[in-house]
């Protein structure tokens, strides 16, 4: 565990030195602060618009940070051959990969926490309200990003950085339209097609499960059972993807 923690710590520090991170973070903060301008354009509840823009901005920029950093940081280690120095020490390949993943996740979490703090500040300043539901929505977004970062890590060991980025973005898109794949099963008449589509739905990640933005914005209740199942689903899927990534990285020819 010590090796994993050390790699995670170094990955986190390395990520913090990356300028791309601050570019994304800067844009995200700008968007959150400017959400007030969008609120001014509406007639009626300004707060809904500010929260919608804020939560969507947090999701978008956290996703971009997760995708770009994940793929870049691992490929950089291989390209610069620093991975050999690390693996020459008593560090197993899976420890290296999990350490990298945890370091990246910590980076994503810190960025998400910063953006959420800005959104909370914006709502307190502009709307004179502290909406704790925003913290819940942000926590669910972090869970979604944990899974997405796991996919990015998997693609980072499977393929080249550019392709890995494209594949991870594709997972993000597919994950958010997965519900429609399920709806497709209701409309498919053919005997073999329906179980095939259902199997596809079961295998693909359903990122809409982590989406509680509408509930938070409209102040609707969410059952604790649903939250618990969402957390279990997210953690189990993330662990599965990481196991696959470790299995591939174990036999990967790094030369």
């Amino acid at each position: 565990m010590r090796a994993v923690a050390a790699i995670a710590r170094n990955t986190f520090r390395e990520a913090l030195r990356d300028r791309v991170l601050y570019l994304f973070l800067g844009f995200a903060v700008l968007l959150l602060v400017c959400s007030k301008l969008f609120g001014l354009l509406t007639v009626g509840d300004e707060g809904k618009v500010i929260k919608d823009f804020g939560l969507a901005g947090i999701q978008l920029f956290t996703m971009l940070i997760a995708v770009m950093m994940s793929v870049l940081l691992i490929s950089r280690e291989v390209d610069s051959r620093t991975v050999y120095n690390i693996l020459a020490k008593p560090v197993r390949r899976w420890q290296f990969l999990i350490g990298k993943y945890l370091g990246l996740l910590a980076t994503v979490a810190v960025n998400l926490a910063l953006m959420t703090a800005v959104l909370l500040l914006v709502t307190v300043v502009y709307l004179r309200e502290f909406d704790a539901g925003l913290l819940f929505a942000a926590a669910m977004t972090l869970l979604e990003m944990a899974l997405l970062t796991a996919f990015a890590t998997l693609f980072a060991v499977l393929t080249r950085p550019m392709l890995g980025t494209v594949f991870t973005l594709a997972v993000f898109v597919i994950g958010h339209v997965a519900e429609d794949i399920w709806l497709l099963t209701q409309h498919v008449d053919s005997g073999i097609a329906r179980p095939l589509v259902a199997a596809l739905y079961a295998v693909l990640p359903n990122l809409e499960r982590f989406n509680f933005k509408a509930e938070v914005v409209h102040g609707l209740g969410v059952s604790s059972g649903e939250v618990a199942l969402t957390v279990i689903y997210g953690l189990a899927y993330t662990a599965l993807v990481l196991v696959l990534a470790c299995a591939r990285f174990r036999t990967k020819d790094l030369v």
């Binding site: 009626g44 919608d52 958010h176 990122l207 809409e208």
Partner: protein
Amino acid sequence: MSRRLATLAAVLALGSIMVVSGLGLQAIPKQDVLGKQLLYLPTPEILKLASLGNQGLMADLLYMWSIQYYSQFSLDEKFLYLETVFNLVTDLDPRYFDAYRIGALIMSLQKSGDPAQHKAAVVRLYDKGIANMPGSWELAEVAAWDAHLVLNDQELAVRWMKTAAERPGAPPEVKRVYGRWRDNIHGWTIDDSIAYWEGVVAEATRKADINLATSHLYDSYATLHRRSLDPLLASIRQRTGQCPESWQELVEQGLLAEVPLDHLGNPYGVDPSTCTLVARKRIRWD
């Protein structure tokens, strides 16, 4: 140095051209013949897919665009797709209160076309919102006031105010408005009215609410009593040629067992000019 100056000059020149041409383009009005922008509105299903889980944001953008679009009253044809646009917004976010309210307001303002169709569209939009927000009394109340003041349809107003009054959390004011409107249009029997107001009095907790509801209950009882006592006064006047001065006279003549009392236990009076029952409502408001 000269290269820097040349670069700076080029930047300034290109910047000037850009600004001037931009201003020139701004001066040319962009025409939207027959609201052609609206011909390419995507379906809610496509927009939901494209939003990647941010349907609320997509609804906000479309709503804000629609406000800007429909606030320019230059072309009547702009209203062609009004219902479609607000259906799209409310399909994306079925709990978007402002979209229902403002959408219905814009629909009721349009001058071109068939007013009956516009009204039907307003009713459809409000009914959709009321169905999509079962826990909210506010939208039904707004709809009721629009029907009362803008559409001038009292029966529709009563229907929506009834919905608002029956929703959880509806304040006593909403329940009173519903009862009063229903009384005004004679939309129920007097017994139903009394039963309703007795329920409102029983539910009320604040002194002011109890008094206001009691006042309405008093009126309903007075109406009920008028129905039975006014014909008696009329028949006496017809028979004797003059109206009794008080109910006590009828008691003394054996026509009534006792002086009729109002809901608060006070005796009714008689108006000699019209020869009808007079109710003197005395409620302590302090």
